[in-house]
Amino acid sequence: MGFVTATADRLTIRNFTETAGLFRTLGASGFRRFSTYRQATVAATITNTMFGFVRTYVMLAVAGSAVAVGGQAAGYDAPQLVTYVWAGQGLIGVVALWGWTELADRIRSGDVVTDLLRPVHPVLGYLLPDLGRAAYALLTRFVVPIVVGALAFDMYLPQRAATYPMFAVSVLLAVLVCFAGRFLVNAAGYWLLDTRGVLMGWAVCAGVLGGLYFPIRFLPEWAAAAVYLGTPFPSVLQIPLDVLVERDPPAGQLGLLGLQALWAVLLLAACVLVQRRAERRLVVQGG
């Protein structure tokens, strides 16, 4: 009598064309799906814009006070902080900072079993549509706050041409890190009955330590260093924004990208590992 395994045989990918086809199909599915949520996109963009105004004025007051005492606010000047706030509001939607409970919901309802029957690794099966979703958000939720911020305030534009491609890479890495983080907190549902506490923990950490409420470098230096090196959260928002407003010289920007890449690899590896352990212990009730 042979084993009955919980998962289907995974697709063996034979060549590049097949891989590209898989990526294109799954990515496009995420893009298409989110492009149908038009009302939600408009609503979220309006909300991001409102918060953009409030946070910009607070940051401008900080920059104003810092200049009055003859300094800069943690190395950012006023236009840099304006760009920081508005690009940050735009990136919330691109990385999908909060609100993704799809995997946790599917684990609770048992629907996750269909994901295991698909011939694509579940991590990849969630990641690729998420990249499509991010691409759609980049065209909508990222662009609008940037335009509004640029119309209403004096924004900092990157001075070095190399910053633009670096920012693009940084945003891609941020999407990967954020996806992996969300996947991991959702996967806690394999072990916990109620994941609301874990999800809330993620939301508050991603907001505070990710640099959304205030740039992490506003913290005392030792605390900022600990957050950058010891947690993945700055890789989700803070680092792309630092790269964009050229807070550091080119070498520093490259270092930040390296840090992001390290976290992306670490967390995605953790996703694969957690998924493997979860599949061993998953019991789906029949019915």
């Binding site: 939600a40 609503a43 918060f51 105004f53 104003g64 609301r196 809330m200 205030f214």
Partner: protein, 269 residues
């Protein structure tokens, strides 16, 4: 058997909710704690900002903490009372609202007791602590008038924020998939009122502080408590106007809600 009074029905509904939530004990405690943590995150933001600069738009840390304390206590009381109305869209989409409409009780009140946010008590408690500490640090003299103002301001703020919660949730009647739209004015309003109005510039301040009335939630009462004139030149009696503003907001929110309910057509799901 005599029919129970309406109040008794609501009392039973709330008690059942509290029991059911408290029965998942670990989850309940975690929820209570995370509400405290969220307030801590907002407080941390203010502290970190003042770690970088000694004065923000003319206000010191202790002055700003008083504004923050008044605003966050008012908001957390509103969040405790009516915060769960932000699930309106789900009620409309799933058709739960249809069930609520055919019961012989008020629609809004039923929705509010459907999911009582007992866990938000954590936030109210920490809001009280923050306000007490802020009053102490700011050296408010605590005359009878000050004490009265310290009591009515958070209550008026609670009514005001509740009105904002209900009015913005009504959008779901017209716009089912309105997502986080109401957060722009509820959570956005809380963030706006957490800082002195001198922080904000031009038309944005005029629209939110006076046009929508957010300036009266914390800033003007705080000026009276701190005994300082408004740097923007408004008369100091404005600080006593928050109950009037709250009453107007509540009436308007009620009207918006009624219009929404009349306008409601089931999604058919």
């Amino acid at each position: 058997m005599a029919e129970p009074s309406t109040a008794a029905i609501y009392r039973r509904l709330i008690a059942a909710q509290v029991r059911s939530q408290a029965s998942y004990r670990a989850s309940f405690v975690l929820d209570l704690l995370s509400n405290v943590v969220f307030l801590g995150a907002d407080l941390l933001t203010v502290l970190v900002v003042f770690h970088r600069v000694p004065v923000l738009a003319g206000f010191s840390l202790t002055d700003t903490l008083l504004v923050f304390g008044l605003s966050s206590l008012g908001f957390s009381l509103a969040d405790l009372a009516v915060g769960n109305i932000d699930r309106m869209q789900r009620h409309v989409r799933t058709g739960l609202l249809d069930a609520v409409l055919i019961r012989p009780l008020g629609v809004l009140w039923q929705l509010l007791v459907l999911d009582v946010g007992v866990r938000r008590l954590g936030r109210v408690c920490s809001g009280v602590v923050v306000l007490v500490v802020a009053v102490h640090l700011a050296g408010v003299p605590l005359t009878p008038a000050d004490v009265l103002l310290l009591v009515i301001t958070p209550l008026a703020g609670a009514v005001f924020f509740s009105a904002v919660f209900v009015a913005t949730a009504t959008v779901a009647f017209w716009w089912v998939d309105s997502g986080e739209l109401s957060a722009a004015l509820t959570y956005g309003g809380r963030d706006f009122t957490s800082y002195p109005m001198t922080v904000y510039g031009g038309w944005f301040r005029h629209v939110l502080a006076f046009g929508l009335g957010f300036g009266f939630v914390a800033y003007y009462p705080a000026l009276i408590l701190l005994d300082r004139p408004d740097p923007l030149g408004a008369p100091s009696w404005l600080g006593w106007c928050s109950p009037v503003l709250a009453a107007i907001a509540a009436v308007l929110a009620g009207l918006v809600w009624r219009t929404g309910v009349r306008h409601y057509r089931s999604t058919g799901s």
